[in-house]
């Protein structure tokens, strides 16, 4: 995950709750220092938690519950299950880390989208390939290559409306 203010990797992740709203903050070492948040690099426990995929969340966050199903952070942590589709947005960070762990590091869907027919399969393969290349480029900090790949992805998504019957199935996409 990137820093909110620059392109460096974020090392501080916080959920801030005020007035019933929750906001996420991700900062790199430099910007965390500027914001007056102590450098977690000097606190081995934080590093450790980060490694095993747990994100330090202020205790107050446990009082947040999903408006649709009523699940709380503690309940989701305990059961390992999300309560509804909205939980994935309300508890975005926790959901992300749970998915990452369960899916052996994968965090980006590159399969079928709703409404996609068989004619879209070739494009889906291409999309999947580009997404993986992008992930790779970002991880290895090849930002120019990443930008190029993002462009290609946008072009690919743009071509969605163009009819394409490369395998001739008579299904509306």
């Amino acid at each position: 995950m990137k820093c909110d203010r620059c392109n460096r990797p974020a090392i501080v992740h916080q959920i801030i709750i005020s007035g019933g709203q929750h906001k996420e903050v991700h900062l790199c070492e430099k910007h965390a220092q500027e914001a007056g948040i102590p450098n977690p690099g000097k606190q081995p426990i934080n590093k450790m938690l980060e490694k095993i995929g747990t994100i330090a969340v202020p205790l107050k966050a446990t009082s947040v519950s999903c408006p649709q199903c009523g699940s709380t952070l503690a309940q989701i942590r305990q059961s390992g299950l999300l309560g509804c589709d909205q939980c994935y947005d309300v508890f975005d960070q926790l959901a992300h880390s749970m998915v990452e762990r369960a899916q052996h590091g994968a965090t980006q869907h590159s399969g079928r989208q709703p409404g996609q027919g068989p004619a879209d399969r070739a494009r889906q393969h291409e999309r999947s390939r580009l997404l993986r290349a992008l992930d790779d480029a970002v991880r290895s900090e090849q930002y120019e290559r990443a930008a190029k790949l993002k462009h290609q992805l946008a072009d690919l998504n743009h071509s969605k409306d163009v009819p394409d019957d490369n395998d001739g199935a008579g299904e509306s996409a």
């Binding site: 649709q68 199903c69 009523g70 699940s71 059961s79 390992g80 299950l81 999300l82 309560g83 509804c84 589709d85 994935y88 947005d89 959901a95 749970m98 998915v99 762990r101 369960a102 899916q103 052996h104 590091g105 994968a106 965090t107 980006q108 869907h109 590159s110 399969g111 079928r112 989208q113 709703p114 409404g115 027919g117 399969r121 889906q124 393969h125 999309r127 999947s128 993986r132 299904e171």
Partner: protein
Amino acid sequence: MSADVPSPDDQIFELEADVVLTSRARIARNLSGSPFVHRSDPEQCQTVAEEIRTAAECVDLPGSPVWIDLAEISNRHRRVLYERHIISRQHAEGHHPRGVIVDEDETTSIMVNEEDHVRMHTIAQGLQTDHCFDQVRDIDRSLETKLPWAFHQRLGYLAACPSNVGTGVRFSAMLHLPALSLTGDLKKVQNAANDLKLAVRGYYGEGSESSGNFFQVSNQVTLGCSEEELLEQFQQVILPGIIQYERSARRALLRQDRVGIEDRVRRDIAVLRSARLIKVDECMRRLSTVRLGVCLGILDDVDLRHINSLFVLIQPGHLHERVGDALSPREALVTRADTVREMLA
């Protein structure tokens, strides 16, 4: 049921049926805007079940499917559905409103209100994961026109458990690995499976023991690859590796001790053909050896299809169903032995 599906003997090796008993594909889906099953009260479960049932009726699924309300049928019938791999144990043992849609030849089933709102499955004999996937994908596409599946731009299709998000697709194959069990090389398969991000379970899925030397292998990761990539990896790369490994172990056994293997196989078929009382574990074990014997060409008067269906027919629920009444433990032993003798006569 396997006994009803014609599979001529020359097709055994074509579909890799000497090692692969069945293959399956499943898709997990949830409705947007409703709590997932474990967060729903009985009323919400009922509403969801009706919504899904209505949608399924509207889209005209193939194979004249029927709706079975699991809360309405007896324990024994739920047990039979579970033994036939139509529903999971969790689904059989639930207490909330739930159901299953099954087509007439029992190859496709849609579990409603299992861990996810909808779990669509198709099953086929031998290695036909691709064929299964085509069918289950069509069902998903049909239902999608009527139901608002929960979908997330980044994470794909959402599920209660993070291990099912993304494609929601799981491929599995029930593998018969008697030779690898005998040679003690199963551990290697299991280690390799972990490295390949595969889950290995027993004959009756999660938490069940692998009786009869059956192992259900499935992909653990459902996110980050397209459905086609997952399928290709599973059917073209992973399974052929395990199949070849088992086959070479079988050949090695024959080379090293042909008489010993023949002796085991012939003793086991003799016991199955004459026993009057038999326990389920013993029965599974001997059927497994006999199955190996048929695939090695040692036994030529036994139909592989009969053996395959016996693994299901000897289970407690099916024995009860056959007699139509609750059985005492001893009656179960008798009925099981009768079932086996009839089938192998």
